[in-house]
Symmetry: C2
Subunit: 246 residues, 2 copies
DNA sequence: GTGGGTGGTAGACAAGTGTCTACACGAGCC
DNA sequence: GGCTCGTGTAGACACTTGTCTACCACCCAC
């Protein structure tokens, strides 16, 4: 069969995807409030979406398949914005003309740059969380949820986020002293922490400032610790020990 | 003995609370495999426990109440052992006669002590996880799960663990340079990371060595970063900048 | 206009669910 | 003895659930 693609998108296609959309939205709504995806009933789901129960089968085989669709869509929608956040934060604290001053040239400046960029990114991240709470709730919930399939998918999403983050840090030369493996570990840990803290951020609005500050502090600690240990550990410790004999 | 028309006459002679135990065990079993507590059916639960469905009501009002009982019990069973792990680890690397050498006297020795104790504790922790996987699975799952009640309870449990940890670190003088607030933040973050990583540890047996190493590295990074930033930040950074003009 | 694919509906089915009321039995107390 | 409690059982009720088969409406290509 030769692919005979019509030049214009068919109206049916766009309109037809309505049911799928409605079901996914309904699932997101029910889930965020008080359920996990695997605990949804397809009838309940259809009811919430205003559809016939059987319509579900037209689009999904499983609840798992529904979940996968949602996760996939969310990942696609979150990844780029998060990268943009980091870029914006980095640029706001370090105009291009400063961006190529290396670590060896001026470690203090670079550390400050990284710290400021971090703080800015954390703030923006939590703003983003507050604007898309359901996405994060569902993500974190299913990451440790009942369905192995969804768990695995979300593990991959988290890995992607961490990779993006490591990539950005590298490209923006925020922590040039770290080797790739360490950078990746640090980015993974930060991802985990941020997503976990985002739950507290959503559920405890009165604590938001504190949570944000805590997240910033953690990230800075991790960066600092990694830099000290991997980059200049011996030097630093020896310098620190200075006055006392070993 | 004559068979009464009742099902098991001899079995009923055992003392009370048996049903409660059976139900809690059944819940733990079903949960760990592929469910969340709030997604259990009480009939299914009773079936697994070998009891009549109505027996559930004799002990619990809700599935939430069941969950709370399980969580409470687990917290009680886990807390002390975890503290013991830390003590054992600390003693194994630092015999009592060395325990009162202060940070200012010999920072390198103290940092090494903390590092070794950390590594030992992490190893023991993961051993413990491998021996009680269901407890950790249930805990982490419900921490972000559907029921607000269980979530809140597990948040408290996590806070208790973190407090224990901070307390031990303080008593064992592993990180004497940290103020209480920072110590608490670090302990909280480490708790979160460890519990999260314990899921990977359980589900990916072939990666256990790597996960354990990663956890150790993270903890050391956090300790180091906290120490540098809160204890001797300026000093360290200035020492680091040493050769180059600001 | 005819055929076929796609998205949606209707009705029915067995199976499973939460919960209610009623009953059984041993222990402990008076 | 008789009484009440705590624990566990039995049966039944109305209801919800997942899924199956059959039917309808639209749009597009021929």
């Amino acid at each position: 069969m030769t692919a005979r693609k019509s030049a214009k998108p068919s109206l049916t296609r766009t309109v037809a995807a309505q049911g799928k959309r409605l079901l996914m939205d309904a699932a997101l709504k029910l889930t965020a409030q008080t359920r996990s995806i695997s605990a949804l009933g397809l009838r309940e789901l259809a009811r919430e979406a205003g559809l016939n129960p059987n319509t579900f089968y037209r689009h999904f085989k499983d609840l798992d398949e529904l979940g996968l669709s949602i996760i996939e869509e969310m990942s696609a929608q979150l990844r780029q914005p998060l990268r943009d956040l980091r870029r914006r934060a980095a640029e706001s604290v370090a105009p291009p003309e400063l961006s190529n001053i290396g670590w060896e040239d001026n470690p203090i400046l670079n550390m400050q740059k990284a710290t400021l960029a971090t703080q800015e990114t954390v703030k923006l991240f939590f703003d983003y969380v507050a604007q898309n709470p359901n996405a994060f709730i569902l993500g974190v919930r299913e990451l440790h949820g009942a369905s192995p399939l969804l768990r695995q998918a979300l593990r991959q999403v988290m890995a992607d986020f961490a990779n993006d983050m490591a990539d950005d840090i590298k490209q923006l030369r925020l922590l040039p002293m770290l080797d790739d493996a360490t950078l990746h570990e640090v980015a993974s840990a930060i991802s985990r922490e941020m997503f976990q803290l985002s739950m507290d951020y959503i559920e405890q609005p009165e604590q938001r400032a504190a949570i944000s500050a805590q997240a910033e502090a953690l990230v800075v600690m991790l960066f600092t610790g990694a830099a000290v240990l991997k980059g200049h550990g011996q030097l630093l410790l020896r310098a620190l020990a200075g006055g006392t004999p070993a």
